[in-house]
Symmetry: C2
Subunit: 366 residues, 2 copies
């Protein structure tokens, strides 16, 4: 067996040591005589796993105590629908800043529940930039302002200076989809009202979603909704209002432990800067053979989309890459081209191998 370098946008590569531990423990977790996937979520074994995962994630991301942390099924898209149900009055305005495909998806989910206002969008330039903060048309009494911290498809990522500062928008809280960049760099959580992320990119396995909620927001009445769609109930039930995706939670916990052991978010920020620079340098230095047109100031350090100058080279590129042990480089169908997703679990050696391959491919086909 030989492991390849997997550039999938999510579900994505996991640390090999995490997979090995899960493999070793698959039939017998810590001598219990059963797999963790077979044990009750209310038993002492899983309660330990769940508590450690939360404590470790709080440590990794420096999450303050006045924030609740939920581990739920349903994915980030379900969160997008539940945000207005939980935090907006029926028909209240909610502001959306749209900087790519996933911002549009977030907007789509809330249409039945709020008067969504597109405060800013970069759609006119093909989602290659982030509109300047001064241009945002924010509403005075919005329930919240929603942004997508990193656009997985378009490869556009907010930097710290793009977020509204405290006082900028009165008491309106900032909600952010961090699905593809959570725990990739130090973040001041206290700037946000809600942070959410599907885990399958930067935090571990598919099938579990993290929702981080400033506790005072839970006092909002929201809209009529079933108990299972109510974040107050989930917080009260400690993410076990119903049976949680326990195996996924366990694997997330192993991944977070690995991130702490590797040096935490500061270290991953350094690695991401180096890894993404390797690829952007090859692209920008290719004399137009490879192309990424995203504003350099907001290029994503997690997802590097690029196009070959001639579409006819797409198939040979993918085929030869696969032959070189570099898989899942095909771009999202919404955009075409190529995409290299290089989350925390992608080693620098993998990115170096891709950069080398790209240079070599250009020489042979340029």
């Amino acid at each position: 067996m030989s492991r390849v370098h997997n550039f999938s946008a999510g579900p994505a590569a996991l640390p090999e040591s995490v997979l090995r531990q899960a493999q070793e423990e698959m039939l017998d977790w810590h001598g219990v005589g059963a797999s963790i996937v077979e044990l009750s979520h209310r038993g002492p074994e899983f309660i330990q796993v769940a508590s450690e995962a939360e404590a470790d994630l709080r440590k990794l991301m420096s999450i303050p105590d006045d924030y609740a942390v939920l581990f739920l099924g349903g994915g980030a898209t379900t969160v997008q629908a539940l945000l207005p149900l939980n935090f907006a009055a029926p028909g209240q305005v909610a502001d959306y800043v749209v900087t790519g495909h996933w911002g549009k998806t977030a907007l789509k989910q809330v249409k039945p529940y709020v008067a969504a206002n597109v405060a800013a969008t970069s759609e006119a330039d093909g989602f290659r930039s982030i509109p300047a903060r001064e241009s945002w048309q924010l509403s005075k009494d919005a329930a919240y302002v929603h942004v997508t911290a990193n656009e997985t498809i378009h490869g556009v990522e907010f930097r710290d200076e793009h977020y509204p500062r405290s006082g900028d928008v009165g008491d309106v809280p900032l909600f952010a989809d961090f699905s593809s960049s959570i725990a990739s760099e130090p973040l001041d959580v206290s700037k946000f009202g809600v942070i959410y992320a599907g885990a399958q990119k930067n935090l571990g396995p598919v099938g579990i979603t993290v929702v981080i909620i400033r506790r005072d927001l839970l006092e909002r009445a929201g809209q009529p909704r079933a108990d299972i769609l109510d974040y107050r109930s989930h917080v009260k039930g400690e993410s076990m209002l119903n049976t949680p995706p326990s195996w996924n939670w366990y694997l997330l916990g192993l991944t977070v432990k690995w991130m702490l052991a590797e040096g935490g978010v500061e270290e991953f920020a350094r690695r991401s800067a180096r890894k993404s620079a390797l690829l952007y340098d090859v692209i920008d230095g290719s004399g137009g053979f490879y192309r990424n047109e995203v504003d350099k100031a907001v290029r994503s350090r997690m997802n590097v989309p690029f196009f070959l100058h001639d579409e006819a080279l797409d198939k040979p590129f993918l085929k030869e890459a696969e032959g070189a042990g570099l898989i899942s480089l095909k771009g999202h169908r919404a955009l075409g081209g190529m995409r290299a997703s290089i989350y925390n679990a992608m080693p620098e050696a993998g990115v170096q191998a891709l950069a080398d391959f790209m240079r070599d491919f250009r020489q042979r086909h340029g």
Copy 2:
């Protein structure tokens, strides 16, 4: 390492051969060089896994073509909230037959959306029976009639004769929570409008829910709802409207293949009859040392709750059982006492070991 017999109500025991295969494939699925948990849900590898799981489940349960089959995150409780949103007009009547804890939970979820009518309940007798079909107070224009096929906590299970016959309730479709008894015996799916089940009891791993919907019901307008809460969208998106819990889907697929190889639902029905009889015989023959007061005609073949005649014996019973390699026998906190969950993956040898232990414990403590 030695594997124990695990009587957990869910997450529950999985077939050892399934766990071994998942273990072997954990770092490299079929020579791809990556784990299935790391691969895109839209890539050819996972599409194959997903399609096979659906085809195999359709074969196992003889699901007709005019039913859609969904594989989603969020658990059965989420389904309970989505049933009225998708299949009832705002404020329309929906009939609920409540035969235990989970029927009450189902009812709780729908309160914001429909006028729920408790058509029948066995709460007065402590949920030890199923009200006779003739006593059900069904509404004429109900959106649906909802039943809980097997009550996991109270150990009460519908038999075929308890379901409304075609024509009994006009065109009102029957919706059923089969979380703890799906694929445990032959079932005429065409009697039902919707069948749903969290997989973590009889179908495989935690973290994935199966929803089987008669396609004509998808034409109902339902109520205003986000796209991600809309079953029409999930059917159109083939359960990939957003990233599905792919690892859980994969493990479900392996479990369904195992069930087919073992002889299918007819074989599991025979095994369940023998396994449950082993335990009920010990209980009924114990001269009151063990007690199960459920109406014998509707005793569950999946979950066998029982009480010791003296509560002071509960702790020694659990401790000695664990010493004998029999774990997770503590009853649900809502009911107390003991509970042995003996789903498809529980071998007859495990149930025999428990029956032997129970007889021995009685001799020593009786």
